[in-house]
């Protein structure tokens, strides 16, 4: 079965190279990207059926790669990566359908490359391998924003790449140093996650090394203070890049912390726990206020995304089973809802050439189907009951109260704030005075994209235990190793 994992990485990138070299026409490109993404989805579904939920890492394969420094092509998945793999592989076909009419070949190439990068990052268990994929997936985003984006796209794409590379470089330093410490301690080189996790380092060097990882992933999330790229990047990004950025890339920051941060530095994170908790709470409030004040829908949901990711990060660092399963569940439901909302914002942009709230209004009276789904996703993002977000946020709030009363109160109250924000946004955008006269309702193709997301979003709200079964045992196993 581990062959399938390698296949998942190789298939998209192979398609890119073959189609790129043969200069395929746009039609072939459309068909093959969509079919490859569907194949990847089917393969991951297959993996899910084979997956044994009671065990941790599975489908492991380890092949030497750079022998000189003991780096290996070391892959495997557990429930955490499986959930994210399912998300990306579900989203990619939908994104490809949504850009079916586009003439620009670059979208297809970049998205396929991105899929390879993300899948690679999700399955790699060797730190250098992870770093490789982590950087690779940056490139398509950089090019998509810079090439097809809006506004000051060149400047903003440069900004996003410089900030994220800065984080990656600090992580690279930590990785190299960890590898060296492994060599010092055991006399052999290794960059494998489980080998490095066994290292006994002094507290001080652990704090510095953990800081390197934390910086890289916090920029991606982003925690407050490292967030200056997010609003401009989201505002400049074209819809496909935007969907990937909010639904996948930001979550990978969390994934990185979870997989690498907690595995390597779970004891050290005690020192960072209060810092991250405070930053996350400030972030939730700050981002929520910033979101309310935006007039541009993309910027607004950029901040709302960041607010929720802060919540997820908070749940992660509280490190108890409620907050952890809440965080992972919120990753799922937020990815579904934000993918939906950003796709629909893209539709608004296509139809009206504006995504400014002050220019919108009255869509509800001309496009009822659109209104229904838009409201559903918007409410799904803030987690009203019947959507997955509600369950997840409840769990995180439980976890927060378990950790400390004050943190619990803050967390719970920001949730209420978020609901106010989304209702006010809906009122101004969709309802209110009839500014929008011409607004074609959702076409069949658009419904094809939106409905699976909507169904899943509601299903996660109604049958949480069905989804949580996949990862709960795994999370408990992972928690046993965590000493916060």
């Amino acid at each position: 079965m581990s062959v399938i994992l390698s296949l998942l990485i190789i298939l998209p990138i192979l398609t890119v190279s073959i189609l790129g070299i043969s200069r395929a026409s746009i039609n072939i490109l459309r068909i093959s990207s969509l079919s490859i993404s569907i194949v990847v989805f089917v393969l991951i579904i297959l993996l899910t059926f084979q997956f044994d939920t009671s065990q941790e890492l599975q489908f492991i394969s380890k092949v030497p790669w750079i022998i000189n420094y003991g780096i290996s092509y070391y892959i495997g998945i557990d429930a955490l990566s499986l959930v994210l793999l399912l998300l990306i592989s579900l989203l990619m076909p939908l994104i490809f359908i949504s850009i079916w009419h586009r003439e620009e070949k670059g979208y297809f190439y970049n998205l396929l490359l991105l899929q390879s990068g993300v899948i690679g990052a999700l399955v790699s268990l060797d730190l250098i391998l992870f770093y490789l994929f982590w950087e690779i997936m940056l490139l398509p985003i950089f090019i998509m924003i810079g090439k097809y984006g809006y506004g000051k796209k060149e400047y903003n794409s440069m900004k996003i790449i410089l900030m994220t590379v800065f984080g990656s470089m600090s992580m690279l330093f930590s990785i190299i140093y960890l590898g060296f410490m492994h060599f010092e301690s055991y006399g052999v080189w290794s960059f494998a996650l489980d080998d490095l996790a066994r290292l006994n380092l002094s507290v001080n060097s652990n704090i510095i090394l953990a800081g390197g990882f934390l910086l890289a992933f916090s920029i991606k999330i982003p925690l407050v203070g490292l967030h200056t790229w997010i609003a401009p990047a989201y505002a400049s990004a074209p819809t496909p890049a935007l969907v990937v950025l909010s639904a996948i890339m930001a979550k990978l920051g969390i994934y990185g912390l979870w997989r690498f941060g907690f595995e390597l530095f779970s004891a050290t994170f005690v020192y960072y726990q209060s810092l991250v908790t405070i930053l996350a709470i400030i972030g939730m409030i700050f981002y929520a206020i910033s979101a309310i004040m935006q007039d541009n829908l993309k910027r607004m949901f950029a901040f709302s995304s960041a607010s929720h990711l802060s919540l997820i990060a908070l749940g992660l660092f509280l490190a108890n089973i409620y907050s952890w399963s809440g965080s992972l569940y919120l990753i799922i439901s937020h990815a579904l809802a934000s993918a939906g909302i950003f796709l629909m914002i893209g539709m608004i942009g296509n139809r009206l050439d504006t995504i400014k709230i002050s220019n919108l209004g009255g869509i509800a009276s001309v496009a009822p189907r659109f209104t229904f789904f838009f409201a559903l996703f918007a409410l799904g993002i803030v987690g009203v009951p019947m959507t997955g977000g509600f369950v997840a946020e409840m769990l995180i709030i439980f976890g927060a109260f378990k950790y400390s009363f004050v943190v619990g109160v803050f967390t719970a109250s920001t949730m209420v704030g978020a609901i106010i924000f989304v209702f006010w946004m809906l009122q101004r955008t969709i309802f209110s005075k009839a500014m929008t006269k011409e607004f074609p309702d959702l076409s069949k193709r658009e419904l094809l994209i939106i409905i699976p997301l909507a169904i899943l979003l509601i299903a996660t709200g109604i049958f949480p235990s069905f989804f949580m079964e996949i990862f709960n045992t795994n999370l408990e196993l992972m928690l046993q190793g965590v000493k916060i």
């Binding site: 790129g20 092949v63 030497p64 790669w65 750079i66 022998i67 000189n68 420094y69 092509y73 250098i128 770093y131 490789l132 950087e135 690779i136 490139l139 950089f142 090019i143 810079g146 090439k147 796209k153 060149e154 794409s157 440069m158 790449i161 410089l162 590379v165 800065f166 470089m169 600090s170 690279l172 330093f173 190299i176 140093y177 590898g179 060296f180 060599f183």
Partner: protein, 494 residues
């Protein structure tokens, strides 16, 4: 056998150089054919060296009776020879179009290139200071001439004058250093110097230390290390494209071939003196080179500045060589290969673009380049990523090995500094990618033209990617690991 082969490959190049000079008289032979002839000669020498590499198992002296132990043949020198020859082949092949579109190139150009390669090969074999100096000058003087090859171009002449005056001054330091060492040791052979140092207490060796420092100054000047870098940007800019490429890549390897041998043999007793000095020079080279590279608006000048930065990385690795830990020299050799592949590729694309129409090659000119020429744009992106040290390219592994060796020598802060500089370099390399892709092109889309240049560029791009990911996963194809193993065996022989 090996002596015969090595002299055969050297004489092939000399004879080739003379033949090329003579056939300049025949105007009927086209420039493309002369280029092909030069490539052919280099390729024969390359094959001979390849045979030597496969057969050599211990270091021997080249005709010790005639040359009095002045020249050594071992795996290290053979690898460096292969790098010079391979690099020269790629340089000539990639510039084919450039030569054809310029009327002033003629046979003597290739002849001078071959002479220069000959000098470099002798340099990598040199086991004695005077022969090293002569070989270095053979290589350098050919290049002085080549820098000013376009006589009616004022920039080219300026570059040559600058380079020749400063270069001659720097070379005189080499002679001075040699004299001082000879005064102390009574011999200029590397082995003799080494034995003398080993058998005397450190306080008696101050003259040797001063002499070695002088020699080091010459080499640092030639590789463009800060503070001896002031010539680099202007000379690289003024020189014709093929020569800029040749200097930035192959001449640099040649200097490292002698520097590495000297440093491993004769400096070995003084690492605690030279290591901090080199560390300091590496730091300012990295910083100064980055500042120069960031501020350039012309691509050729930017690459010149970035070549200073790459010298800085190499010096960083050199400074971390310890007597009990020579991993860094492997890293240096790998980095040289990785840099040469990417730099020749990047310069090659520039020269290919420059060969078609008169262009200034500023960053502005490259706006929308990827729309105009998608293939070359993609290739340029690969080379830029490699130069920036982006993972999945050979450039990343090169930097990775250097950082690892620096950390292994215990200098963690220096490795951290190197990573920070790598971050800065991301800016100016990605700026080019951004310009190529993010702006509409003012020129119409050009058709993909098949030529030897594009083939070589694609080959180099494949090598760049393969070097970065190619691995033991696919064991029958050679990759970075193989290179390291050969280099390791070579170092064992010293």
């Amino acid at each position: 056998m090996i002596e015969f082969l090595i002299s055969l490959s050297l004489t092939t190049i000399i004879i080739g150089a003379i033949v090329l000079m003579l056939i300049t008289l025949y105007k009927s032979i086209s420039i493309a054919h002369k280029n092909l002839l030069a490539i052919g000669i280099l390729f024969v020498a390359f094959l001979l060296q390849l045979i030597i590499l496969l057969n050599i198992d211990k270091s021997i002296y080249l005709y010790p009776d005639i040359f009095n132990h002045s020249f050594i043949v071992d795996k290290l020198s053979t690898i460096f020879d292969l790098m010079f020859l391979g690099g020269a082949i790629f340089t000539l092949a990639i510039n084919n179009r450039y030569f054809i579109n310029r009327d002033y190139y003629n046979g003597e150009f290739f002849s001078l290139i071959l002479w220069s390669v000959f000098g470099m090969m002798m340099l990598s074999h040199a086991n004695e200071l005077i022969s090293a100096f002569i070989s270095l000058e053979v290589a350098s003087i050919s290049i002085y001439t080549l820098v000013g090859y376009k006589k009616d171009d004022i920039k080219s002449s300026e570059a040559m004058l600058k380079y020749i005056i400063l270069g001659a001054l720097a070379s005189s330091f080499f002679i001075l250093g040699t004299a001082l060492i000879y005064g102390a040791v009574g011999s200029t052979g590397f082995g003799d110097i080494h034995n003398f140092i080993e058998s005397h207490p450190t306080q008696d060796l101050s003259m040797i230390i001063v002499g070695l420092s002088f020699i080091l100054i010459t080499i640092l000047f030639k590789i463009g290390a800060v503070p001896f870098h002031s010539w680099v940007i202007d000379v690289y800019h003024g020189a014709p494209f093929p020569i800029t490429m040749f200097m930035a890549s192959i001449l640099k390897i040649a200097l490292f071939s002698i520097l590495l041998r000297l440093y491993l043999v004769d400096f070995s007793h003084f690492y605690n003196i030279f290591s901090p000095m080199l560390t300091f020079i590496a730091l300012i080279t990295l910083l100064g080179g980055s500042l120069l590279a960031i501020s350039q608006t012309n691509l050729k000048r930017m690459l010149a500045g970035s070549s200073i930065v790459h010298s800085g990385y190499l010096l960083m690795a050199l400074s971390s060589i310890k007597s009990d830990n020579q991993e860094a020299s492997l890293a240096i050799m790998f980095y040289l290969v990785s840099y040469v592949i990417s730099a020749i590729g990047a310069f090659g694309i520039l020269s290919f673009v420059a060969s078609h129409r008169k262009r200034k090659l500023t960053f502005e000119e490259f706006k929308g380049f990827a729309h105009q020429r998608p293939f070359l744009g993609a290739m340029m992106t690969i080379f830029m990523l490699s130069l920036a040290g982006f993972p999945s390219t050979i450039g990343f592994l090169g930097k990775f090995y250097i950082f690892m060796s620096v950390i292994q020598s215990g200098n963690i802060a220096l490795a951290g500094f190197g990573i920070a500089i790598a971050f800065i370099s991301v800016y100016y390399y990605f700026k080019l990618i951004a310009l190529m892709y993010f702006y509409p092109s003012p020129h119409p889309k050009e058709k993909y033209s098949f030529s030897i240049t594009t083939v070589v560029i694609s080959l180099l791009a494949i090598a760049t990617i393969w070097g970065g990911i190619g691995t033991k996963l696919i064991s029958f194809l050679p990759s970075g690991d193989v290179l390291l193993e050969i280099a390791r065996e070579a170092l064992m022989q010293i």
